[in-house]
Symmetry: D2
Subunit: 248 residues, 4 copies
């Protein structure tokens, strides 16, 4: 518990270079904003990487040193190498944490780990979102009050095509009339996964202190407790068995 | 509820042609034994298909007419086309049922839908298995007593690398000292998935009436309740929203 | 599946006699409105009973012949005999279904079976409720579209102090800004429990066809699959054990 | 995280005074053995109390200062005051942890919080138990290998009448042929509950280092994250609502 948690913030970094509205909000990139927010927590050791870097930002030297990976992507999901998805999936199943943000619901890695389409309803209309805290005792809700209110966000609405979460921490109310399971926890293999809905590229969501707090909390919750390589061993009996009969 | 449930029994059909011990037990193939067992239920309309057939046994004309698919494979998992796995996954998420049998735990389709390695401990030692019925009210346990005893089976032991099942119906005791979650239910998309452990190719497990009864029960439980194609729609607000502000 | 499901609709029957607004909406009582709505389903055999009747409406002759019990109460929860709560709990654990409606969240039987306070936020303001269907394949949502809209209802808001539901079928959006887990399934013992939020005494909610359809669906889903009396048996070993050593 | 966790070990303390075999194994009482075992962990501040003490060992001054309560009882369950059960339930729902040990499955507090009968099969035959670790990444399994083996224990067998656990950490194999869900986690209100099966009064189970380690781990996992008093507030709308219409 003493050692800092090595968090790697992965960003697609496309909108925040090529879309004017996003650039205005995140002039140094969304990944930088998220990483700076998390770096305010002394127990998190944060680095940010992007799709355009060598090995798409996650060479073994980085992935193998990552305790918790956060993932934001949107229009470049298809560009992520399947081999990288294999490597991230393998490491999550061994014990690494994964925090999937907003439009990352359609990332290859999220769909790979959950097995479903992860589709949803959506609308961009600058509307109000209120994330209700259903589980104030859950570690990812530590320090959060009854709700988080965001004045402007993209809407995501149910039905969200996901496996039933192991824990449902936040449910969003949207001004336009929809609801959404906005904070969802799963365990897969030895790793923990948290999906957190807010974070459209044209809103300053990742400067909101409560949003950053939830992501930091999630990094703590999802930090590895074990790292165990997959195996499927032939194993000897622990109790005496009768001798095998010759096949007739 | 009136219409018969269209069950397709998919078999790898390799051991039961090439392995002497398996051929002796299943001279007409394991898929034939399973299909005949299920065909004893008047509400199931059963067909059997195999890997060697055109389109690996599952052309659209068959898959599209299948309510519940049962899957037994072992040494030929890698031969199953990824495109077929895509099609089966799509249909399960739309609402089709899937019953995965024994060594099918390592099939591409099971791992695809669950997202984990699905690995386990194993041993072939002709030992006794006793499947304890933890949930007698669950539809897949209908008509089953406190346990099912199989005099000779392959052992599968924990830890079984699966997501926590939505329902855990059977847990196995093995003579050699292990336990195993043998009857597991999940929902993915609109489809239901049941994993049922017993059924090694050299034992007459698929002639056991209780084993067949569980598989038939599972076909009833997993029959489609809806068939809904995936979509991710942009949607209009249901409530009045304030006019969008021009971006500065 | 052939036999009709014996549904007993239990009503507190206080507001609908003593409160003018409720009497105007339900002149023959809420229990009568619910029972008539359900009686439109040929597979349900419905009777209505009330708190003021002998044995508070549920003598053994009635309870013992009930497959599914629906429960609406509000201001008279404390009047329900603990011995009746014991009997209902016992029968649910044996296999009977229980549908708890609206203010029944605070009934003795619901709290007894769930073990939590079942408290929530509330407000009476004639506001709009929209129940989103999160699980269209679930039997209690059969025939229901993307949502059910009620023009006027009491608001119930999170946090709802319940154990995590086994299945979450509906989540409500409220005009005033809250969300609520409105359709929740649990299994306790061999029985199934469904909580369904809408149904304040001064609104015509129980005349809404979709609301009645959900309750009828829930009766089908919760009908007994087994009826098993509780036992805690001393049992003989199924496998040979070494002789017990004399205590020193 | 810095402050020690205040653990109160509650013991019925009957067998270990009146039963010769139990006295021989636990001459200073089972509660003392458990408390000493836990006190080996520097982060746990442990006290032991018993049924015969004033307020049955749990006056407000003790209960109100307890972070995690462990509970072992067997033949004196009925002697525990209902008012004490009310107070413990209230504190668990507010956030206190509860660790229920072995025959505590039939305690009033466990049945109260779970809502089911909590019955099971049982046999005293000095047989071997092997607890398989299904979830090595779970905090209660920290430092535990693939299994814990106990040479002599009472047998508890399925069906264990409990709500489906939120997490299933251990499943036991018994020499006589049964299996059992031996390590089960639930959340109720803001509190966490762990049931741990082993610990019959005539076996030295509570001197086993792994058994104590699991209980100590469970105390850490179940320590309060929040303490929130129950409320059911009437609440004002967060969004503008249309004026209420006068009732006709």
């Amino acid at each position: 518990m003493g050692a800092a948690i090595a968090v790697t913030v992965w960003g697609e970094n496309w909108h925040d270079r090529h879309n004017e509205a996003a650039r205005r909000v995140y002039p140094e990139g969304m990944h930088t904003a998220i990483a700076r927010g998390l770096a305010g927590s002394a127990d998190l050791k944060v680095r940010a990487v992007t799709l355009d870097q060598p090995d798409q930002g996650l060479p073994d030297s980085v992935l193998g040193a990552t305790d918790v990976l956060t993932w934001w992507g949107h229009v470049k999901h298809a560009d992520v190498d399947d081999a990288l998805v294999d490597r991230v999936q393998k490491r999550v199943l061994e014990g690494m944490g994964l925090i999937v943000l907003h439009s990352g619901h359609f990332s290859k890695i999220f769909r790979r780990l959950l097995g479903t389409n992860c589709s949803l309803k959506w609308r961009e209309a600058d509307e109000k979102e209120r994330l209700w805290n259903l589980d104030p005792g859950h570690p990812v809700a530590e320090g959060i009050g009854e709700y988080i209110e965001l004045p402007c966000e993209e809407m995501y609405g149910e039905r969200f095509d996901i496996p039933t979460p192991d824990a449902l921490v936040f449910v969003s109310w949207f001004q336009g009339g929809e609801v959404f399971r906005s904070g969802c926890c799963w365990e897969r293999g030895h790793g923990r996964i948290f999906y957190f809905r807010p974070g459209h590229e044209t809103y300053p969501t990742y400067y909101n202190k409560d949003i950053i707090r939830v992501i930091a909390n999630a990094c703590r919750w999802a930090r590895p407790r074990v790292m165990i390589a997959d195996k499927c061993p032939k194993t000897e009996a622990l109790e005496p068995l009768p001798p095998r009969q010759p096949r007739p």
